[in-house]
């Protein structure tokens, strides 16, 4: 039995008449210990999809299940990491993580809980900053706290909703490597959402494109059979990586054009040339009538996508 299973789920928002369908025919099953990445355009319904699993959104039709049980509400067995960190600003790193640990492991002793918090702070390499407030940390460090807090609940599955999108390229690369390493050590099931094809192939066992049809559907999964740990420099020279990357990017780009309503429009490119404004060229423009011309008027039909 799969750990997470979504069957024929669909979801739309709004009332009759002003309703937009977001997801249709979603079928997904994720095995225990698997690292799955879902990739799609912004606004295509990726977050709605992950919220079906977290329990923040209920499907209109179909079911989402964890270990065979229907998901009806959020719970500590599914840990969520958001793009905007969502830390409590008045609590230190330690207190933010302790908040989750104290809630989930009520039957543990105080010492057990403290040790558990310290272990997870160490895991994300923030032991030196345990007493700091979120505002004293960089974006990358804040996101590490968020990851540590979520992992400290010992969730069955880690749901990451564009966890690194707000970070700069260097920090993002560093965190990708760190999260991949943590995953390699404890093998928690991960469902990760992104819009970056390189990130997807670097971290995932399986990449599933969410195609931007209206409503969106899941495309064919791509298995990434590149050995771990993956080195981000060496992987660029790997023929398997090149092939997967080209395949993934073309799948996503091809899917984009298909669903558009097109109309063509006749456009005129007027026959005028710019005047020299940087160099004083006397009264050149006064001695001729109208603008400089190249003596051809172009008209063309252009496809306009609505």
């Amino acid at each position: 039995m799969s750990l997470i299973e979504i069957k024929n789920a669909s979801k739309g928002f709004g009332l009759l008449g002003d309703r937009s369908e977001v997801l249709k025919d979603i079928n997904l099953s994720v095995e225990e210990g698997e690292f799955v990445v879902i990739i799609g355009y912004s606004g295509s319904g990726k977050s709605t999809l992950i919220n079906l699993i977290s329990g923040l959104v209920k499907p209109d039709t179909g079911v989402a299940m964890i270990e065979g049980k229907t998901i009806t509400e959020p719970g500590p067995d599914r840990g969520l990491v958001f793009q905007n960190y969502s830390l409590l600003p008045w609590l230190t790193v330690e207190e933010n993580i302790a908040l989750a640990v104290d809630e989930v492991f009520k039957d543990w002793t105080k010492e057990q809980r403290a040790a558990h918090v310290a272990k997870h702070i160490g895991m994300v390499k923030l032991s030196h900053a345990a007493k700091k407030l979120p505002k004293e940390l960089s974006g990358g460090m804040r996101q590490r706290v968020s990851v540590a807090r979520t992992l400290a609940m010992n969730p069955k599955v880690l749901l990451m909703d564009e966890p690194l999108s707000a970070l700069d390229a260097l920090t993002r690369a560093q965190l990708q490597d760190e999260i991949a390493e943590i995953w390699l050590n404890n093998k928690t099931t991960v469902i990760w959402i992104t819009n970056d094809p390189d990130e997807a192939i670097l971290v995932a066992d399986r990449v599933i494109p969410l195609l931007p049809t209206v409503p969106a559907t899941l495309g064919e999964a791509i298995t990434v059979d590149i050995e771990r740990p993956r080195d981000r420099k060496a992987i660029n020279h790997d023929p398997k990586f090149k092939k997967l990357r080209a395949h993934l990017i073309t799948t996503l780009l091809d899917s984009k054009g298909k669903n558009k309503v097109k109309s063509s429009r006749k456009l005129t490119l007027p026959d005028i040339l710019p005047e020299e404004l940087t160099h004083v060229n006397g009264i050149e423009f006064l001695t001729r009538r109208g603008p400089k011309r190249r003596n051809e008027i172009k008209t063309e039909e252009v496809e306009v996508t609505a």
């Binding site: 355009y41 660029n236 456009l267 007027p270 005028i272 940087t278 423009f285 109208g290």
Partner: protein, 293 residues
């Protein structure tokens, strides 16, 4: 069609030196580059290496400390509408619609044309970038990707002699970035304005440009290597990604950025220029100051 100018832009021994309390700091050192009319060149390097400084000097927004900058046969001083710029953020005026933002520059440079022609100009370029139905919206009603489309249309509508792109897609997510690269190529296919672009995205550099100029790490950044991109135009991303040469070029650039960007031609006695770099050096007939001394 007139004959293409073989020397649209000449950057000859360009230096950028800032005075600091600790003495002069050299940011860009002895930068040489020649662009043909209708050529698309890209500057690539790590962040902070000085590639934007070079671009801002060409734009006239940053003073040249030493060296010459010749645009279409004339010394270029200060900014002007003969050089269109697209910044990383679109820099639109928020109280004007997309159309009015484009018209702002159009009214300036085509002041001798009539109103209808000027309007057609803005409409034409906004439609080609895919804003045919959204040109009368305000920037706040547009997505980040659409705002950047307006920025690109605004630059092209002035028909500048040169187009300067400063990481134009840096703020966009990877999939939107691919779309906008296609938009840029589509415009460029109609009007091949000589272009100098700054980026740190290897794939973007290969897909868009004719020549990639790699810069060494700053400070004292200089040209570290030059690579010609041989793909035919119009380009198709799918075909390029299936071309074995694409991966050779990509590896060349990635290797430079990862392992070789600290090697300075002027300081390494055993520096061997690549064929493309040697061609550029011959065109300038320059030797590095260290070698000359």
């Amino acid at each position: 069609m007139s004959v293409l100018n073989p020397k649209m832009l000449e950057l000859d021994r360009l230096w950028k030196i800032y005075d600091t309390p600790k003495g002069p700091a050299t940011i860009v050192k002895n930068f040489n580059l020649k662009l043909k009319e209708g050529e698309f060149a890209t500057l690539i390097g790590h962040s902070g290496c000085g590639k934007s400084t070079v671009l801002m000097m060409v734009a006239g927004l940053s003073e040249v400390s030493q060296g010459n900058m010749i645009l279409a046969g004339k010394e270029a001083v200060g900014p002007g509408p003969d050089r269109g710029i697209v910044f990383q953020s679109p820099c639109l005026l928020p109280w004007m619609t997309a159309f009015d933002n484009v018209m702002l520059g159009v009214n300036q440079v085509y002041f001798t044309a009539n109103k209808m022609e000027r309007r057609q100009m803005a409409e034409y370029y906004l439609s080609i970038v895919g804003l045919g139905d959204a040109m009368h919206k305000f920037p706040s009603e547009l997505s980040q990707g659409m705002r950047q489309r307006v920025g690109i249309a605004r630059a092209f509508a002035l028909q500048p002699k040169m187009l300067l792109l400063d990481e134009p897609f840096g703020m966009l997510d990877s999939l939107t970035r691919y779309e906008l690269q296609e938009v840029l190529l589509e415009l460029w296919r109609r009007n091949s304005i000589t272009t100098l672009m700054v980026t740190h995205d290897v794939d973007e550099a290969i897909f868009l440009s004719d020549r990639v100029v790699m810069m060494t790490d700053g400070p004292e950044a200089e040209v570290g290597d030059i690579l010609k991109i041989p793909f035919e135009r119009p380009r198709n991303r799918k075909e390029i990604m299936e071309d074995p040469r694409y991966y050779e070029l990509r590896e060349h650039l990635i290797t430079f950025l990862n392992d070789r960007s600290h090697i300075r031609p002027s300081r390494e006695p055993e520096f061997v220029p690549s064929p493309d770099m040697a061609a550029e050096m011959a065109a300038h007939a320059f030797s590095f100051p260290a070698a000359a001394a």
